[in-house]
């Protein structure tokens, strides 16, 4: 079977830096009313339609995408789930039969994550911005290996929805099953990390980074430590429940992103981070970018929907609804993020608490008049800050102001010149030393420009200036030499980011 993700990803790569699709209700349905459930559920098909059109209408590939494996919620009374469990048992047995020097073997796959003794992490991402993306790639290639070794190309990893079923599925506690394993507990019942209240709080966060951080620190970590034994070590994938547990984490991300319409980061550095330690179903090394993982639930597998907290599962689309979605998509949806214009401000500079940054650009407010005087403008202005070297410690964050050369740490964030802020959360070297992530920052300054204009604080001829102010993290000790070294600062004019709405 053609591996959908590889094929589609390689062909889409140049144009899918953002995988979002223009789906505002008005534009999608030409003003026709369509309920949210149908609308959101259609995304799986949207993904297929987009990719097929990009590939020149490759019907075979489209069919494969539409028939991609289903990852089902572990439960009793479902023949489809039972079949998935049976295949999973076979796959575990097959992988354990392979020699350890086969990169598809059980031990080799677990070793990508870490080891039980010594208890260390290897390549896995924890406490970083790639917790979601790294584990999604890990699950994806593991699933392909399972498919290959069992000869079942339809196999989808089942997920353990610990919010709905707090007791581990019986297949994992049956001593006769290859899925059984020594554990301290086979239930998460009674622990608030898995409660509706906790999940609702986490799912109500629409910030990609903090949503991921909360999900990781609470239910994800708690499941590992409650189950215990191997699961509480770097070698946790030695326990077969690891994979359905992380499949649930991945489902949470997919549900938050696709079903509940929250947006992933559009940060370049995040999208371009790549890994080359995974292997495909033939044991050959592959390279994959974090950005490409966001496509996976749309083209490589799909999740059987289920309830998490008070966020209900969504029903499938009917044929009419599918057709409506398809019509709109075939009419064209730009999935690219084009930069229409770059306005360099400075190259190679540094920022510190003692030394804020301020510089005038070569453009004035009049140059942006059409953009900032209309609510219907289709372009936005971003300050793009590209860093060269982070401070060794996260002792400060940075506030961005427009046209306020006197801005300093005391300038409040409700000042009309304030545009936004950024910090280095998750970009430290907590990545086990295997990779370095270079994070750049975009701050949308369009609303600030509009605000200044509305208040008469930005005349046509006023040059636009940008200020960056380092703000200490409260009274944390600030090293005098702590600097954020910047490669460049520029303004970017870009079309409105096309969104999965």
């Amino acid at each position: 079977m053609t591996k959908l993700f590889d094929a589609a990803n390689s062909m889409l790569k140049p144009s899918t830096r953002s995988v979002s699709v223009d789906m505002t209700r008005d534009s999608l349905f030409g003003g026709k009313e369509m309920n949210r459930r149908a609308f959101v559920s259609g995304l799986g098909f949207v993904g297929a339609g987009l990719i097929a059109s990009t590939l020149g209408g490759c019907e075979a590939l489209l069919e494969q995408i539409e028939n991609r494996p289903v990852r089902r919620r572990l439960r009793t009374g479902s023949s489809a789930v039972n079949a998935a469990i049976t295949t999973y048992e076979e796959a575990v047995a097959e992988m354990k039969d392979l020699d350890d020097d086969d990169p598809r073997s059980w031990n080799a796959q677990a070793g990508l994550h870490g080891t039980v003794t010594p208890n260390v992490f290897n390549f896995c991402q924890h406490g970083t911005n790639h917790f979601f993306s790294w584990h999604r790639a890990y699950l994806y290639y593991f699933e392909r290996i399972c498919q290959e070794l069992t000869g079942n190309s339809d196999f989808g990893l089942p997920y353990w929805n610990w919010n709905q079923n707090q007791q581990m599925h019986g297949a994992f506690t049956d001593p006769a099953s290859t899925l059984s394993h020594e554990r301290n507990s086979t239930s998460v019942a009674g622990n608030s990390a898995f409660s509706d209240s906790t999940m609702d709080t986490i799912f109500s966060d629409n910030n990609f980074f903090t949503f991921g951080s909360q999900l990781e620190g609470s239910p994800h970590n708690m499941a590992h430590v409650l189950i215990g034994e191997d699961m509480v070590t770097g070698g946790s994938p030695q326990d077969p429940i690891f994979w359905p547990h992380h499949c649930m984490v991945d489902y949470c991300w997919a549900k938050w992103n696709i079903e509940l319409e929250n947006d992933n980061t559009n940060n370049d550095a995040w999208h371009e981070t790549s890994w080359n330690h995974f292997v495909n179903e033939n044991g050959n090394a592959v390279e994959i970018t974090a950005g490409s993982t966001v496509l996976m639930p749309l083209i490589s597998y799909r999740y059987e929907t289920s309830t998490v907290g008070s966020a209900l599962g969504l029903a499938a689309l009917n044929a009419t609804e599918l057709r409506l979605v398809e019509e709109r998509i075939r009419a064209g949806a730009d999935v690219r993020f084009d930069i229409r214009r770059r306005i360099p401000i400075v190259e190679r500079t540094a920022l510190s608490l003692a030394r804020p940054f301020s510089a005038e650009t070569t453009v004035s407010a009049g140059d942006f008049a059409a953009l900032i005087e209309s609510d219907r403008a289709t372009e936005r202005v971003f300050a793009s800050i590209n860093h060269a070297r982070l401070p060794s410690k996260n002792d400060f964050f940075v506030r961005v102001f427009i046209n306020l050369p006197s801005a300093n740490t005391a300038t409040p964030t409700d000042d009309p010149h304030f545009a936004g802020s950024f910090a280095f959360f998750g970009t430290h070297t907590g990545d086990h030393g295997k990779h370095r992530h270079k994070t750049d920052y975009l701050v949308n300054i369009t609303d600030t420009l509009k605000r200044l204009r509305d208040r008469g604080m930005l005349a046509d001829g006023s040059p636009i200036s940008v200020q960056l102010v380092a703000v200490p993290i409260a009274d944390a000790p600030m090293r005098p030499d702590a600097e954020l070294v910047l490669d460049s600062i520029e303004l970017l004019i870009s079309p409105v980011m096309i969104r999965t709405r």
């Binding site: 620190g217 609470s218 590992h224 430590v225 509480v232 992933n264 950024f422 959360f425 009274d475 980011m497």
Partner: protein
């Protein structure tokens, strides 16, 4: 797509707390200098050092205790593996007010052996608006 600018951090105190099997609770005041406590979206807990050679599973309840009233559970975090430091956030749900306090309680999730030693250093408890 989301905001590429990443979350800012606002903190009021860099008080350090050390916990062990005999001292499992840290109380961090929502001080008077904190601007807009009700706007602080997250409590951020920076665990800088963990001594747990037997890797006894541990977690932490994070409560908010108002100046006068019953404490409210904000959330729960866990260390994975149990000897790995890290930085964690828990949503405040807009409950913070001046005069209240954050109460972090260490939970030992498996009965430790008499010889087991657990020491956790909370380097900083801070508050974030985004």
């Amino acid at each position: 797509m989301g905001n590429a600018a990443q979350p800012s951090i606002i903190s009021e105190s860099n008080g350090t707390y050390r916990m062990d099997l005999a001292n499992k609770i840290a109380v961090h005041p929502v001080g008077t200098k904190l601007i807009g406590p009700e706007r602080q979206k997250f409590v951020q807990i920076e665990i800088s050092d963990v001594v747990n050679p037997a890797t006894v599973p541990i977690g932490f309840d994070v409560h908010y205790r108002p100046g006068n009233g019953e404490k409210v559970l904000l959330g729960m975090i866990a260390l994975f593996p149990p000897d790995k430091p890290g930085t964690f956030i828990v949503a405040t749900r807009g409950l913070l007010r001046r005069g209240g306090a954050i109460v972090v309680s260490m939970l030992v999730l498996k009965e430790p052996e008499p010889t087991d030693r657990i020491q956790v250093t909370l380097k900083r408890i801070s508050f974030r608006t985004e």
